[in-house]
Amino acid sequence: MYIYNAIDQSIVDARVKQFADQTERYLSGRISEDEFKPLRLQNGVYVERHSPLLRVAIPYGLLSSRQMRMLAHIGRKYDRDFGHFTTRQNIQFNWVKLEQVHEILADLASVQMHAIQTSGSCIRNVTTDHLAGVAHDERVDPRPLAELMRQWSTLNPEFAFLPRKFKVAYNGAAEDRAASEVHDLAFDLYRDEAGEVRLTVKVGGGQGRTPRVAPVIKTGLHWRDMLSYTEAVLRTYNRWGRRDNIYKARIKILVDALGSERFGEEVEQEFAHVQGGPATLAASELERMTAFFGAPAYHSAASGDQDEARHRLSDPRFNAWVKRNVAKHKRDNYGAVTISLKPLGIAPGDATSDQMDAIADLADRFSFGQIRVSHHQNLVLADVARSDLWALYQALEALGLSESNVGLATDIICCPGGDYCALANAKSIPVAAAVQETLAAKAQDIGTLAIKMSGCINACGHHHVGHIGILGVDKKDEEWYQILIGGRTDTKTALGQIVGKAIPREAVAPTIERMTDFYLENRNSGELFIDAVERLGKAAFHDAAFQADPTQTPPSPKIQEAN
């Protein structure tokens, strides 16, 4: 992984000092509430329903065991012994005190971490595939370019106050595990015939109240021009993006207004000026950066497949865990292991400090001391020898972390919702819990099913791209829920459609169960839920879910508008 040099460290240290000073000036009344807000946001601090919250950047989801132990320590010292891994591969501490944040930032800086630009109207933490570097279907490892983007975007002076937030994602594989097409800026990486890394650029994807799949605006961009082209995109957005209405300020609205072709031309004009300019990366730079992400010292010994097979035959739970939680690795004798943070009864994505410490130890023992965070809010040990799978499984089981539900109906993506978030219309965590509980017994049979839950239209829980999405809405100060169906982000991106009317909380799990039952009755052999939705049509699922339901009521005009 990328290791800071003295310069990187000096920048992060200076940032800690800057924020300590800003906090002090705020507390003594020398900075107003409104003026302090973007300063704290750009250091990851929100003030939520019951407490301030600190969002820590985990660039492209990659952590060392040492960093994970520091996160555990922060959870213990400043929070209530836990942290929450987010859909943007970051971690949030839900119960911090504002006056202590600069101390937390100093602790983070001591392990080469920070909270810079994890919120605010700026370039946010860069995300990518949690299997980067080990995926069997990978064309190009996106992490070296993602790190260059992290550095370039860090404290970028021109783009510190954009119209709205700006999220960048990278994908370098056949299956897009980063949901890149619902980001403001997405790079698809591939090699041209000469072996040079090139990028397809997509702009203006997003979720929230105007969900969009990002259109392609540039193909064949040479990697050396990545930053210059990004500068052109951002300058165009910074100058012409709407600032009169915060709900219409994301770049997707500008792309919509101009049309992607016209927007692309505008960027191209700007790019013509900056191409070959000072942001052009040096020819050797990709090589230098790639060295940080080189393969670890893999064993080439026999794979231990026989042991694995023996244990799988004798222990059905281990067998289920290997099937669901161990992804194919580019090396046959290795596997990428997902540690599910979605056991029943736990808020999706939460991990206790003790669990974080234990996972750090397991990473040292089994996976070269590294951990990844996936946007599904799970943790990944990406380089586990298959001969170690049984030992790792037993260790995880002892920790209560062996839930074998990766990709299943119980592996729900879920925002913090009304339990924490000051913007939420409705609670998310209890709804996810009810769905998990209802579907737990059938989940293995149902197979791959992405259920995604957001407590409001801002869509932090990615409900637009769930095979089944759940959206919390407010109806006359009551919590109601809309169900969406048909979204996906795997080999293609599609946005889900709202089906039926808003329903009360207790009806959500039964409604979804009627959908999965309908699938179980009507599926073809080997057919995934989402493929059945495409074959049978959303209307068929709507009918199965809603016709029998007496609780439905017509939606309010407000909700219809939100639709």
Partner: protein
């Protein structure tokens, strides 16, 4: 007194005192934040969100040391011939600085309006003035010019700063040294660390 900071070089900042009211005056003093309240969270804030943001209509300053600040339109309409007196203009966030291509001669000061400190258009405007048009005169930030944005403003090529009335001058002068080094190129042409082609050539030279 209105204070203008002038950045002569990265560690040489001079102050110029101008008549009271030359720049945006100090707002009412801030109430001390109630930490207990903040650390208890702010509850449901949905009702507090105002989606519509008021857009600036007029510049926050009308004059500079040697006269009135013209609008972009006034300047473009003007006959370029009488260039004896130094001229200052003010660009609003919606103005296109590229309209000044070929019309920079005779301009001593271009003021860039930061109607609200969180409106970042001025950073791109200043960048374009310096790097695209090659403007060598003074670029002055006016409006909501606050300590915590000075570093970024300077990086975008702004070299004078009409501090809002309540900003502490000594703290403001130190703000230019907030970060010891920077990652990326910006219009101030300061050394940066990303290994770009330009950087390698610079190192080799």
């Amino acid at each position: 007194m209105s204070i203008l900071l002038k950045l002569l070089s990265s560690n040489d900042v001079v102050t110029l005192a101008l008549p009271e009211g030359a720049f945006r005056p100090a707002p009412a003093p801030n109430p001390l934040p109630n930490m207990e309240l903040i650390n208890q969270g702010q509850g449901d804030v949905r009702s507090l969100i105002r989606p519509n943001v008021k857009q600036p209509e007029a510049p926050s300053v009308a004059a500079w040391e040697y006269g009135t600040l013209l609008t972009l339109a006034d300047w473009l309409e003007r006959d370029a011939a009488n260039a004896d007196v130094p001229v200052g203009i003010v660009l609003m966030p919606t103005d296109d600085p590229l309209a000044l291509a070929g019309r920079l001669d005779g301009l001593a000061v271009i003021a860039v309006e930061f109607a609200k400190f969180s409106d970042g258009r001025g950073y791109s405007i200043a960048t374009l003035l310096r790097s695209r048009l090659g403007f060598k005169g003074e670029i002055r930030a006016v409006g909501d010019v606050l300590i915590d944005q000075l570093f970024a403003m300077a990086r975008c090529g702004i070299d004078s700063f009409a501090l809002r009335g309540d900003q502490d001058v000594e703290t403001a002068k130190r703000a230019f040294e907030t970060f010891p080094t920077v990652y990326q190129w910006a219009a101030d042409e300061r050394d940066f660390v990303l290994a770009t082609q330009a950087n390698l050539e610079r190192a080799a030279a």
